[in-house]
Amino acid sequence: MDRARTELLIVAIARLLEGCRTVAVGASSPIPGSAALLARAKSKGALRVLMLGSRRHNAFTDGGRELFDSAAQGRIDAFFLGGGQIDGQANINLVGIGEPPRWQQRFPGSFGSAYLYFLVPRVILFREEHTPRVLVPKVDFISSPGTSVPEVYRPGGPHALVTGRCIFSFDKERCRFSLASIHPGETADSVRAQTGFDYDEGATVLQTMAPEPGNLELLRGRVADEVAETYPRFAASLLGRKAA
């Protein structure tokens, strides 16, 4: 991915975090992490970022369970999840393609998804690769379901799906994605051709808003410096940061 596309995604995700009080970011997530730190910078510090792998933006002191416990306490407003497969009901698969136990392709595993997806109000699904291989009609394994029946305790769930081609919003009532905006270079048709699941689409398809100059300035300056603590190579190559 090039720098312009990276910046577009970061700024778009940061918009999705507006109004949040506390955003948590899992391991190996440079783009969501950058977006969270940008949203924080825009909020003038009112938004708190808890970023695994960071020292400066990791206030946890109760061990590995604290992210999960604090989410259950309702203290985490937004989190990011990915998926080896994501389907049209927002089910995600982080375990494997094919059938257990041998699988055709085995992924690392579900991490905390089977929990945080239920408890964090605004879960943003993020996967750069937008192909029918990833966005499938039905996942082979449900690491975590996108929705639950009403009797299941579930304050949290999917808010949006951000890919390298577009942004989908998710309607919990209808249990379907809806095309929210497409990135530069895509058309409604090109997105549909690369998407393995069915989704709603309005009469007019919006373009993903280009990064505002002020946001770009923040991102390339202060945010890039903050990102570099956890993701130095990413900050240098994709945010154009010069080492201090």
Binding site: T61, R65, G112, A114, Y115, I142, S143, S144, S148
Partner: protein, 274 residues
């Protein structure tokens, strides 16, 4: 049980017996690669390993060396270096009995052992195929709810051995873990804790109240062995960073069985040098 002992690395590793349920921390939390090397050299078989809650190069080496019969983990990955190759190969070969879980379920099951209760309830999970595949978890009803309120009960997990690496230990078996409190949960839950340490100091780590909060008391520690740079090629807290070049060499080499064996020979060869 006798009082805390200070052992050699090989003697400590020998306390991990075949068939043990072994708990290990994630790559960023204090992995005893020194004891991992000793376990491989000894060839301890049929280990059942619980990753608390994930693992990377440590579990990949244990699997590649043929030490692991069963594995429970929320994820196995080399992070930015990609999939864990020996884990992936073992899954494809069908030589590893894998139980998928999710991070908070591992923490909760250890907390159940920590509290001496048979299970803990946990939210989430319902509707996932993880739950569908776990015959040992129970989908139950919240006994305090007036309306329908399903919730999952997770049975306690009590590891036979918790094995990890720390910066410092003292002669009472107190060990410094800092903010890495999952190591405390592991040790509280486990029957026995075996710990390697960068150094063993002659004063009590509990003497200074400003740092005592980061200490796991010797009450939980069966034995300690000194192992300088014992997390290498992983990093250890603020003491030293991960050796990214060596980890990249591992990720590349371990893509084949032969490459893994060659890397492992080199790793085992560092034993006397270390």
């Amino acid at each position: 049980m006798s009082a805390m002992e200070i052992l050699s690395l090989d003697t400590l590793a020998a306390r991990v017996t075949p068939g043990s349920l072994l708990a290990i921390p994630p790559d960023y939390s204090g992995v005893s690669m020194a004891a991992t090397r000793a376990l491989v050299a000894r060839g301890v078989k049929d280990l059942r390993v619980l990753c608390v809650p994930t693992s990377g190069v440590q579990i990949d080496i244990l699997i590649g060396a043929g030490l692991v019969a069963e594995l429970e983990a929320a994820a196995v990955t080399l992070g930015e270096l990609g999939l864990a190759p020996r884990f992936t190969a073992a899954i494809k070969a069908g030589s590893l009995a894998m139980r998928d879980t999710t991070c908070p379920a591992v923490h909760a099951a250890l907390q159940a052992s920590e509290k001496g209760v048979p299970f803990l309830p946990l939210r989430g999970l319902i509707g996932s195929d993880i739950l569908a595949q776990r015959g040992d978890w129970k989908l139950a009803d919240n006994p305090f709810a007036t309306a329908d309120d399903p919730i999952v009960f997770l049975p306690a997990i009590q590891p036979d051995v918790a094995l990890f690496h720390v910066t410092r230990a003292d002669r009472d078996g107190n060990v410094w873990i800092g903010r890495r409190r999952e190591l405390a949960t592991m040790a509280h839950a486990a029957k026995r804790s075996l710990v390697t340490a960068e150094e063993i100091v002659d004063f009590s780590l509990l003497d200074d109240e400003t740092t005592a909060a980061g200490v796991l008391p010797g009450l939980y520690v069966e034995a300690v062995a000194e192992a300088p740079r014992g997390a290498w090629p992983l990093g250890l807290q603020d003491l030293y960073p991960a050796d990214d070049a060596e980890l990249a060499r591992y990720a590349e080499a371990a893509r084949t069985e032969a490459g893994f064996r060659a890397w492992l020979d080199g790793f085992l060869g560092r034993r006397s040098a270390a």
